[in-house]
Symmetry: C2
Subunit: 219 residues, 2 copies
Amino acid sequence: MIPKDLFSLYLIVDPILCGGHSHCVKFLNAVIPCGVKIVQLRAPNWHKGAILALAKDLPNGIPLIINDHVDVCLASGADGVHLGANDLPVESARKLLGPEAILGYSVNNEKALEHSIRLGHKIDYLGIGPVFLTATKADHVPPLGIERLRSICSRSIHPTVAIGGINAQNAAEVMAIGAPDALAVISAICAADQPTKATRELCQEIERGRKMKKATANN
Amino acid sequence: MIPKDLFSLYLIVDPILCGGHSHCVKFLNAVIPCGVKIVQLRAPNWHKGAILALAKDLPNGIPLIINDHVDVCLASGADGVHLGANDLPVESARKLLGPEAILGYSVNNEKALEHSIRLGHKIDYLGIGPVFLTATKADHVPPLGIERLRSICSRSIHPTVAIGGINAQNAAEVMAIGAPDALAVISAICAADQPTKATRELCQEIERGRKMKKATANN
C-alpha cells in the first residue's frame, strides 16, 4: 500500500489536452516541481503504441500510473494502473502486475465502495468521484457532491483521492469537508493558462483545506 | 511458428455484429464445426472487462487470438494476440506474452512487409489487407487489390492471411491468384443470414481456389 501522504496533488494528464506527445513531456517537466506528487496518464482516445511511447518519455522521479492498460504499464515499466468498473477486474490486473505495483480503483457510488472493501489489499487507493460536474469524462455518472464524498471517504479502508471538477476555487473546501487524502485534477492544470501557477495554487489550497479540517476537529 | 495448414479459414468475430456476449458464444459454437480453424476476438468499441468476460466464455478447441490487448490475452489464457501498426510494438508484446503465444501482425503496404521481415521469428503470421473495400474497419487504408496481395504474399517469410472484403464470391479467386495461406473474414460470416451455411461455402471456395492455383502452377 502506498503511504497516505504520498499524493496530496494527483495529476491526471490527458496528452490531447496538453497538445500531444512532446508538449506533454515538456508540460510535466514544468508542473511536477510545483507540487504534483503522482501522475496518471489517461489517453482514452489514443492507440496503445502512442500511449506506450509517451509513458516511456515521461519524467521519472514521481510515480506514474497508467489508466486502464495493464499491458502498457508492464511494457513501459510504469508504477501502476488505475482501473474503473469497465476495465479488467482488479484480481486479473493484480495477478499480471505483481504485488509491488500501485493499483487504483474508481469508486462512483456506495456499491463500488463496498466492492473496494472486499478487494482489501489488492488495491492501493480509491479514486472517488465525480465530486462535481465535469466535461472531461463524457460517460460520467451524476456528481456525488461534497457530503457524499465525505461519507464514502470516512468508510474507505484505502487512501482516498477525490476527483471530478476540482480546481483552486473549491479545493480547500473539498479537503476540509469531504476529507479525502488527496485531490486529483485534469483540466484545472492541463487546461490552465498558467499550469505552473495553477499547480502551486492548488497545493496551497490543499494545505489550507487540511488546516481548516484540523481546526474544525480541534474545536 | 504456427503451421501453414492451421488456418485456412480465420474468423474475426465482432461481438456487436453477433448481437452481444451470449449470442456470440452460441454463434461460435455453431460455426466452428463448419470449418473455422482459428478465431480472433475483435471488439474495438467494447471495454476490456467485457472483452475478457467474453474471451473466457468462448469455445475451446481451436486457437483464440485477441485483437490488440495483450493484457486481455494474458488474463484470459487465450492463445495469442493480433497487432496493428498503432498497437503495442511487437517486441514489447512478445516479451509480455512469452515465446509460445501466437503473434499476428497487420501488413497494409510494402513498408510494413519489410518491417515484418525484420521482426523475423517474433511474429507467427501476417494479416494482409484490406484486399477489397470494406465497411467493417472505418479507419482503413485504400485496398491492395489481388495483384498487390500476391506480390506481398510471395515476399513474406511468414504464413499469410488475406483480409478485407472477402466473401464466398471472391474467395476462390483470392486464393488462386493472391496466393495467401489463408483467408480471414468478419461480416461474410458474422453478418450472414445463415452463418453455418456461409462458413461451409467459404471453406469450399478456399479449397476450390487452392486447386485452381495448383492447376495453374502445373501448366
